[in-house]
């Protein structure tokens, strides 16, 4: 059974990656499985300087999902390179760094330092941050800014693959996907969380101190599948599906729609061995469906023919 995937030159033993912010720095999950069985590990979002993130409470459970407003709490670039990366089994499993910045210069600097690290296999760029020099509108909502970030990171990436992570909180995901491709992105990952809110009718307060937050988990899978479906038709670079992946069958759903790989996020909270279990269940499921590889299955979605309405 061949579960391997070539993701923009990155050789993955299977298409199961972990999603940024839901798998810590990988080390937290070592008691629950062998990190080396994963297709790859995307670590917590990294900024140049340490960040404390948003005030508490910054998580709320919602039906089939959750809201978070963590605000990219992280120890900063230097501490990651010094303390975390050396402890990760990066020779056995590709480690993908997730970049968070609020200006093009900061993105470029992060890319320069991280891509020079032998243990970093690829870069994922989070464009959900506000652009401070543009009045705080999120990079990810403006195709021209998405393109500019992709260019800035590509210029400093030392030829390592650059994956731009798109936000679903836009009018037309295809336009954003094309903007990233035009900026030189080698791959796309989508979706980041869906902007949402939860309130308490009794206390009359929002459930998050930040008032609004990002929705994730099984509840967003249909949004993610739709976004991947639209993105793969808009670009020729590979797409990684993120949003609500909880089992091996979900992996195949994203691949059917055209994704090269997936990331497992909130499911890691449902059980800490989720990503490991999904990676190890995949070959059996493929066998059951008569597949011997993923190449032929990818994008083989049968769409209704013309004239059938709908």
């Amino acid at each position: 059974m061949d579960t391997s995937v070539n993701l923009a030159g990155l050789r993955l033993k299977n298409p199961v990656l972990t999603a940024s912010g839901t798998f810590g720095f990988g080390l937290e999950f070592e008691p629950y499985g062998d990190l080396a069985v994963l297709g790859g590990i995307v670590v917590k979002g990294l900024s140049l300087e340490p960040r404390q993130g948003n005030p508490m409470p910054r998580l709320a459970e919602t039906p089939c999902g959750m809201l978070n407003s963590i605000g990219i709490q992280n120890p900063g670039l230097e501490a990651f390179v010094r303390d975390k990366l050396p402890r990760l089994p990066w020779r056995e499993v590709p480690v993908i760094a997730n970049l968070y910045a609020c200006s093009l210069d900061e993105f470029a600097e992060l890319a320069g330092v991280l891509s020079a690290e032998q243990g970093v296999a690829a870069l994922e760029v989070n464009v959900s941050c506000p652009n401070v020099s543009r009045g705080g509108a999120a990079f990810g909502q403006d195709p021209a800014q998405i393109r500019a970030v992709a260019e800035a990171v590509k210029a400093r990436c030392a030829n390592k693959p650059v994956m731009v992570k798109l936000s679903p909180n836009v009018t037309d995901i295809a336009v954003c996907a094309r903007a990233a491709e035009d900026g030189g992105a080698d791959a796309l990952s989508l979706i980041n969380t869906v902007l949402g809110m939860a309130v308490d009718a009794r206390t009359r307060r929002p459930r998050l101190a930040n008032v609004v937050g990002g929705l994730s988990g099984p509840a967003v899978k249909p949004v993610a599948l739709r976004c991947v479906h639209q993105a793969v038709r808009a670009v020729s670079i590979p797409v990684v599906g993120v949003g609500g992946v909880c089992c091996a069958e979900d992996v195949l759903e994203f691949i059917l729609v055209g994704a090269h790989a997936v990331q497992v996020g909130t499911a890691n909270f449902m059980r800490p061995d989720a990503a490991f279990a999904i990676a190890s269940d995949l070959p059996g499921l493929m066998r059951g469906l008569g597949l011997d590889g993923l190449e032929g299955y990818r994008g083989s979605l049968i769409l209704p023919g013309p004239g059938r309405g709908g």
Binding site: T22, E28, P31, L59, M66, G217, N268, F269, P272
Partner: protein, 265 residues
């Protein structure tokens, strides 16, 4: 500290407590004990019944009330959607358990130890007392709002020197606080003070410990909303003494009183 793993175990029994006065609210959940190498009182587990499917995405954290002879026991109060469903579990139902998690309480067997528990904060001390080499050196102070039969107090008062105060109405709160403060002042031994309970209760303990110069031998077991329980989601952060964030699940839940700040929101 090495953590245990994630296991699917069977429910052995859900025993209602305090049935005559608070029916359907307090329970002892008895589960098959996973193959743990070791655990310490004050550590906790995350529980997620398989029947929750995709609907409730987080496990729920509970202190280990006991773990021996093949049985893992937690004591809980049904408050919200997760705990109400736990109360409806039947023998044979499958529950995912990950743990033991967190650090646990300090033990100083040669000296007197003062335990301060508020409400369900008594749960981890059942394990603590059972595992302590010299329970006759333990003094237990217990503050509660619900009838005594809802908690393992009678059992523990047979093993250690125990007192309790009951908060029958909100007006009694001042009495509880006074009693708690007096208890700490009277405890002049060089031993440990260990506290677990609602955040305002812990706040009183912390303030008093600082006043009396006891912060370095006072430990607080904190509660925060948790998604992962393993230090990854950063949802359970509290402020340490320097104002930085620390995760309650992986760096606690037990902290020295001088090492954390407590929110009183």
């Amino acid at each position: 500290m090495r953590h245990g793993a994630c296991r699917e175990v069977k429910v052995l029994e859900v025993v209602p407590l305090g049935q005559s006065k608070r029916p359907g609210e307090f329970f002892e959940l008895r589960l098959e004990l996973p193959d743990w190498e070791a655990w310490r009182p004050g550590q906790f587990v995350m529980l997620r019944p398989l029947s929750w499917g995709l609907e409730l995405v987080w496990g729920r954290p509970f202190s280990i009330a006991s773990a021996d002879r093949g049985v893992l026991c937690v004591l809980f109060q049904a408050l919200g959607r997760g705990t109400r469903r736990l109360a409806g579990l039947r023998p044979g139902d499958q529950v995912l358990v990950w743990g033991p998690l967190g650090n646990g309480f300090a033990v100083d067997p040669g000296k007197r130890t003062l335990i301060l528990a508020g409400g369900m904060g008594l749960a981890p001390f059942r394990a603590y007392v059972e595992r302590h080499p010299a329970p006759d050196l333990i003094r237990l102070f217990f503050a509660h709002r619900f009838p005594l039969e809802c908690y393992p107090f009678d059992y523990l008062s047979g093993l250690v020197d125990a007192v309790r105060v009951e908060e029958r109405s909100p007006g009694d709160l001042a009495l509880v606080i006074d009693a708690l403060r007096a208890e700490m002042a009277a405890f002049d031994q060089r031993g440990l003070i260990l506290a677990c309970g609602p955040t305002p209760f812990l706040g009183t303990v912390r303030d008093r410990a600082l006043e009396l110069g006891l912060a370095e031998r006072t430990q607080l077991s904190l509660e925060e909303r948790m998604a992962c329980g393993v230090g990854a989601c950063l949802g359970c952060a509290v402020k340490d003494a320097g104002g930085g964030n620390v995760q309650v699940c992986s760096r606690g839940p037990v902290f020295w009183a001088g090492d954390v700040q407590l929110g009183r929101g």
